[in-house]
């Protein structure tokens, strides 16, 4: 039953969206913008973090893909409150540099990789919403509404196992 329910959606997500992503982000990454965002992460003290900024096909904007890689040393800050402060620092610096350096970033995606470097979890939000949150113009609840979360490589079997484990 669950296969009928979730199967098509999963195949659509894995097939259609991946194709769409490959097409949208098929251009060469922006070396300058990538360096600026990576530097922000380094200065904020995020180990195992790097950024690639890629132009979005059919748009004047770019996506900043931030990789937090456990296999490269990412382990958070050790505390939730520390992570919150780090996040605000990064968001504020990105807001400033996006304007001052004309980076053209209009969306941010955070990609978590596990100990083996596999894509574990992805979180994305429009840059506009992140900037508004960092300026106090958007509440956490309003920001969460704009946030999308996904498991890029979770397959049907994993999903079923997760659901069976939870029921």
């Amino acid at each position: 039953m669950a296969t009928v329910f979730f199967g098509p959606g999963i195949w659509r997500r894995l097939g259609l969206f991946r194709t769409s992503a490959e097409e949208l982000y098929s251009g060469a990454p922006d070396p300058y913008a990538s360096q600026v965002v990576t530097q922000i992460l380094i200065e904020a003290g995020v180990p195992g973090a790097r950024a690639v900024v890629i132009p979005i096909q059919g748009s004047a904007g770019q996506i900043a893909v931030i990789t937090l890689d456990t296999s490269a040393g990412f382990d958070g800050t050790g505390s939730a409150s520390g992570n919150e402060m780090m996040l605000m620092d990064v968001l504020q610096r990105m807001r400033e540099d996006n304007r001052m350096e004309m980076l053209g970033i209009e969306r941010v995606s955070v990609d978590y990789r596990d100990e083996s470097g596999g894509n574990l979890l992805a979180i994305t939000a429009p840059q506009e919403s992140l900037e508004a949150f960092s300026q106090g113009q958007l509440t956490r609840k309003q920001l969460l509404h704009k946030v999308a979360v996904g498991f890029p490589t979770l397959d049907l079997q994993d999903t079923l196992a997760l659901l069976q484990g939870g029921s």
Binding site: R13, Y25, A28, V65, S79, R140, T159, L163
Partner: protein, 204 residues
């Protein structure tokens, strides 16, 4: 610290908790769980009694966003992984003077002009200026296609010239030549104009 309930594990993972769990205190875990629950409620993953709604959780996993831009962005990490692999291949080709590796990177990401730039620089270093010019024209053609589709000319030009400069500098490091030096100077001049906000021929 064990995360027993699959729902809590899922929600904790969703709200950036995965990297924290190894070093978390009870207070941190409670904070993250509260944040995760707030997000889950916002997305309809909890029913009116605050219990997990597994149907909605499954649907979210299957189809995380109705916004195509957001849905594609969730796959961006996989694109970056492919890009890293192709970059490695092209870099090996550029450093070893092996065109076949750069061509393999081009086949993997045919719309990525950075590999055409690497090919052009290598061909120039190998004394084949006509083939180098052809690769440069392909690179510029890919960028112009982007501009016609709505891309920002100056941002894309900065991107293209930055890749050109990196590619030329790699080849100068291998085997300096007058041709490479001349093209490097010209590329640097374009980047300086872009940085100073001055007009460039590529973006009339």
């Amino acid at each position: 610290m064990g995360i027993r309930s699959p729902l809590v594990r899922l929600l904790a993972l969703l709200l950036l908790a995965a990297p924290l769990l190894s070093a978390c205190s009870q207070e941190d875990l409670e904070f993250v769980t509260a944040l995760a629950k707030e997000w889950a409620a916002e997305k309809g993953l909890l029913d009116s009694a605050g219990k997990p709604d597994y149907l909605n959780i499954g649907l979210l996993i299957a189809d995380p966003s109705s916004d195509p831009q957001a849905a594609a962005a969730l796959q961006a990490g996989l694109v970056v992984k492919g890009l890293e692999d192709a970059d490695r291949l092209a870099q090996q080709g550029a450093e070893a003077g092996d065109l076949s590796k750069i061509d393999a990177a081009i086949r993997a990401r045919p719309s990525d002009w950075s590999y055409q730039e690497q090919k052009a620089a290598l061909l120039l270093a190998q004394g084949n200026p006509d083939a180098a010019l052809s690769a440069l024209q392909k690179s510029e053609g890919l960028v112009r296609d982007r501009i016609r589709a709505g891309g920002n000319c100056r941002t894309l030009a900065r991107n293209m010239y930055s890749h050109r400069l990196n590619a030329l500098q790699t080849q100068i490091g291998r085997a300096p030549s007058a041709d490479l030096t001349a093209q490097t100077s010209e590329t640097q001049a374009q980047l300086r104009r872009l940085s100073a906000g001055q007009p460039i021929p590529f973006c009339p």
